[in-house]
């Protein structure tokens, strides 16, 4: 899997940044795009609690990205 060749920390301008942080940013961007799309297609009408869905989706995606690293 990915974790065999992705390091736990990345050097960003010589500062060590945890790869998890990158996963966090990636998940945030992905959620932002997904959210735009969901709103544009009125899919939030089908959901009882859109904010909860957003947060849950975010944590799901973040966990997926995080598990890829570890």
């Amino acid at each position: 899997m990915l974790h065999e060749w992705v390091p736990r920390e990345l050097a960003f301008l010589d500062a060590h940044v945890p790869t998890l942080f990158l996963a966090f940013l990636l998940a945030a961007v992905a959620i932002w795009l997904l959210d735009k799309w969901l709103a544009a297609w009125n899919l939030y009408d089908l959901v009882w609690y859109p904010a909860l869905l957003r947060v849950a989706l975010f944590f799901g995606l973040f966990s997926v990205f995080g598990l890829m690293v570890y």
């Binding site: 500062a15 709103a39 544009a40 859109p50 904010a51 957003r54 947060v55």
Partner: protein, 713 residues
């Protein structure tokens, strides 16, 4: 038995009503307090769990970004994050450049604060917040780093993580628990605006125009500030963002045209040409009658559809109605036909703009489920800004000087809490830069800070020493958080709340070591007070917004805007309108309701009147042949000249030229050179401009002004 039953039922109804009332008014506030506490506790827990240096910074972040509305929290957090990151990057640069010498360091820091203050004044809403935070971050990262330059990176990364923790907990809590959506507020403002406008239009000839116009303007900017925050909402508000913008622009157009029309009527009445005025009002009456059904504005969708139909009918039947009126007046002596035609042209514009506004309004109100609206068609009409560089420069200088003075005090007396003083000095000078009455603002904020200092004493000395675990710590900070939340939720005490929260979490004693240190406490309190005194003095010394000079300048700028409209061929009427309104809005004179605000709105209406006419004239000029176009250019140049240098001579010059031009158009040599469809709008526009300029005499700016002032009084 029956009586008891009845009593019980009555009691049940009463309790139900009271509960419903409580749920509507008080419950959101209690929910908000609860959310506030929860967000703070969450941030505190995470910060302690991760063993961050200053958990209080995370708490301060929560205090700064928490807001009643969930979407606002997201927007505020977004700009806070951007501001913080930029501030941290600049702090690191600054430390890298000037760590060895304090003079260039403080000069560069002062320049940065000046820049941030200018930015916070130029931008509206929460964008201006980003600049405040960029300045504040320099104080919490850059200044401590100067003492230990080799730790700069560590300080920067911990502050960033603490702020991140605060932001995430605030966002999470306000999104997930009892979210308060903006859509409700937006709908209320939109409906309220429509109701007010219908009542005004339905009244026929209103007593005072400036007050309603002022109210509309405030609604407009309120709606815009809501709209700026809908990007982070989950509900319909975001999808309707473009529609709201469209509504704002269209409403602006229709309200301006209405005011211009009524001013024309009032001017005719003032010149005792009541026959023309009566005829124009009679022409408008069918439109006014359709706006109100039994004295009430339309509020359900069938009524709105009927209203739209009625407006269309009015547009279609207008020509017939107009010729009827003309015939009725033909028998009367000395009736000026041109004035009627000018008014009729305005009415036609009013009707078509009203139809456009209604279309958007219906879309927004009766079909709340998202209708996709082509955003490309509308991207050009954002609310434009008019930036006046003088107050911006003053504010920037003030911010920079405040920092330099506090730095000088810090350096000369070698005082341990200098950083804290500079932090609060920078916060106040950037945060209140845009305030219309900064001295009063600072005074309110100071009350909050003093309260915070008192509260810190109690919690540091008596409570924190007894706090042994997380739960106890939460109990210790709970009163301060609740008080901050409650004060900041009410508009009248919001500043007190802000002062309290900021002072408390800047000073509370659980950063490196738990508990109290009296020396540090007194040093810190003195630091906060010195910062307040210095920035208060700076604000009162450079109080630009309330000086009479500033008002004269605003009036001069409005005239300059008219000159621009005459000379700048690329300016559209929407752009002109937005710039004029933004200028007045920013001048800070319209928040109060006094004679000054009446004069400002009066000047704004006069500017809008002439500006739109000039721009319409330019539009007509574009499809004329070369010779009449040259004459029109000359006309525009004369008008511009008059507005640049107002005076009897220039006014007479412009009026004489307009008279000549109108004379030629109406029967002279150019009658043949132009087709009737070209000559007609040209004549009415020129005549309208002539009326406006003729009414402007330096002794009494406008006859209506006295009436308006009396109405306000």
């Amino acid at each position: 038995m029956q009586r008891i039953n009845h009593g019980v039922r009555l009691l049940a109804v009463c309790i139900q009503q009271a509960t419903a009332d409580w749920y509507r008014h008080d419950f959101p506030l209690i929910g908000y307090l609860f959310k506030y506490l929860l967000a703070a506790f969450l941030a505190l827990w995470v910060a302690l769990k991760m063993e961050m240096d200053q958990p209080a910074t995370a708490l301060l972040t929560v205090v700064i970004v928490m807001h009643f509305r969930s979407g606002m929290v997201m927007t505020k957090s977004y700009y806070r994050l951007i501001g913080t990151v930029i501030g941290i990057l600049f702090s690191m640069l600054l430390v890298a450049w000037f760590a060895q010498d304090r003079f260039p360091f403080f000069i560069a820091a002062a320049l940065w604060i000046g820049l941030c203050t200018a930015g916070s004044l130029i931008y509206r809403n929460f964008q201006s917040y980003g600049f405040v935070l960029a300045g504040y971050t320099l104080c919490i990262v850059g200044l401590p780093a100067t003492l230990t330059p080799w730790h700069t990176f560590q300080i920067a990364s911990t502050r960033l993580s603490e702020i991140g923790v605060g932001l995430l907990s605030a966002m999470l809590v306000s999104e997930l628990i009892l979210p308060q959506r903006l859509w409700q507020n937006i709908q209320e403002v939109v409906r309220g605006k429509f109701r007010d406008f219908s009542l005004l239009l339905g009244a026929g000839a209103p007593a005072g125009l400036n007050q309603p116009f002022l109210k509309f303007m405030q609604d407009l900017y309120q709606l815009e500030s809501f709209r700026a925050s809908v990007q982070f909402e989950t509900d319909d508000a975001r999808v309707h963002s473009t529609t709201i913008n469209q509504l704002n622009v269209r409403f602006m157009a229709v309200s301006t045209t209405y005011v211009v029309f009524q001013r024309l009527v009032q001017r005719l009445q003032a010149q005792s040409r009541s026959r023309e005025a009566e005829a124009l009002l009679a022409l408008m009456r069918p439109l006014a009658e359709t706006m109100l059904v039994d004295g009430r504005p339309a509020n359900d969708s069938p009524a709105l559809v009927r209203l739209q139909q009625a407006v269309t009918d009015f547009q279609l039947g207008f020509t017939a109605l107009f010729s009827q009126q003309l015939q009725a007046l033909a028998s009367q002596p000395d009736v000026n036909r041109l004035e009627l035609e000018t008014g009729a042209a305005l009415l036609q514009r009013l009707a078509s703009e009203l139809a456009a506004y209604l279309q958007t309004y219906v879309l927004l109100v009766t079909k709340p489920r998202a209708q996709k609206i082509d955003s490309r068609e509308f991207s050009a009409d954002k609310l434009q800004m008019h930036i006046d560089w003088l107050p911006v420069t003053i504010a920037a200088t003030r911010g920079a000087l405040t920092l330099l003075i506090l730095a000088a005090i810090w350096m000369t007396i070698d005082w341990p809490s200098g950083i804290l003083a500079m932090t609060l000095g920078v916060i106040t000078s950037t945060l209140f830069a845009a305030s219309p009455a900064p001295t009063a603002t600072i005074r309110q904020f100071s009350v909050g800070v003093l309260l915070g200092i008192a509260l810190v004493y109690v919690s540091n000395v008596f409570w924190l020493t007894a706090a042994h675990d997380y739960v106890m710590l939460c109990i210790v900070i709970a009163p301060a958080i609740l008080l901050t939340a409650w004060l900041s939720a009410r508009p009248t005490t919001a500043l007190v709340g802000a002062g309290l929260g900021i002072a408390y979490f800047l000073m509370v004693g659980f950063n490196q070591a738990l508990g109290d240190n009296p020396v540090k406490y007194f040093n810190d309190s003195i630091a906060l007070m010195i910062a307040l005194v210095v920035s208060g003095i700076m604000f009162s010394l450079t109080d630009y917004a309330t000086s009479p000079w500033a008002k004269a300048r605003v009036l001069a700028q409005l005239r300059q805007l008219v000159v621009d409209a005459c000379r700048n061929t690329s300016m559209t009427s929407a752009e002109f309108e937005m710039r004029a309104r933004d200028l007045i809005q920013r001048s800070g004179n319209v928040q109060r309701q006094d004679a000054d605000s009446v004069r400002m709105v009066e000047a704004l209406c006069a500017t809008l009147e002439i500006g739109h006419a000039v721009i319409a004239l330019r539009a007509v000029a574009s499809d004329l042949s070369a010779q009449p176009r040259k004459l029109l250019q000359h006309t525009l140049e004369l008008i511009a000249h008059y507005y640049k240098q107002p005076g009897q001579k220039n006014q007479q010059q412009a009026l004489q030229w307009l008279d000549h031009f109108l004379g030629w158009l109406q029967g002279g040599e150019y009658d043949q050179a132009l087709a009737a469809w070209q000559a007609q709008p040209l004549t009415t526009q020129l005549h309208f401009i002539r009326l406006v300029i003729a009414a402007e005499t330096s002794a009494s700016p406008h006859p209506v002004l006295k009436q308006e002032a009396a109405y306000v009084a």
